[in-house]
Symmetry: C2
Subunit: 116 residues, 2 copies
């Protein structure tokens, strides 16, 4: 079974809370990160901003244990059930999910609304 | 509020069932698709394989009504609550979700297991 990586050698990874199904974040992995994720059980990623391989949670303690891994029809996207360690949060802003702002459009102008 | 598009002018879009939270698919949108999505309420996407803008469901009838739109911390990924029209499915293979196969690894070899 082959994962289809993009022209930069990356695949998008969607992590959801294994218990609640809440989508926590969208991140990126390369082949090496995927090898490390499957061999260790901890989510490894490729940081596009830092151009480096990292284990999610290495500095924050928010290591994500991967309980299941699904691939989509085109095999170019992954969906993971994870258990977040540390304080159980996933976002570097200190929130559980990275998707904490809703986009609303009024008169063609988009604005962001913080979710409770 | 600006969405951060990648070097190809695209942003990944994760659609989840508004009722159950089930992740249905990961697709891609450009700025024009996003304008059409917000102005019409129907999910519009950019097809990377066909290099064309399309309204999801135009041929299948599986139009997705977007009930809410969230953006992540880096503003380079979107999470949508959608209501799938037609037969309520999202995947071109005839399944509800595109993530219908689990990846299992045995002795370093990955294999795909179909979910029930």
């Amino acid at each position: 079974m082959e994962i289809s990586y993009d022209e930069n050698g990356l695949v998008p990874v969607v992590a959801q809370d294994a218990l609640t199904g809440e989508v926590l974040m969208l991140a990126w992995a390369n082949a090496e990160a995927m090898e490390l994720t499957t061999s260790t059980g901890d989510l490894h990623l490729w940081s596009r901003s830092r151009s480096e391989l990292w284990r999610k949670g290495d500095t924050s303690g928010q290591v994500q244990k991967v309980l299941s891994l699904r691939v989509d029809c085109d095999q170019d996207a992954l969906l993971l059930d994870v258990e977040a360690g540390g304080d159980g949060k996933s976002c570097h802003t200190g929130r559980k999910s990275c998707f904490y702002r809703r986009v609303e459009t009024h008169d063609g102008q988009r604005r962001l609304v913080f979710e409770p």
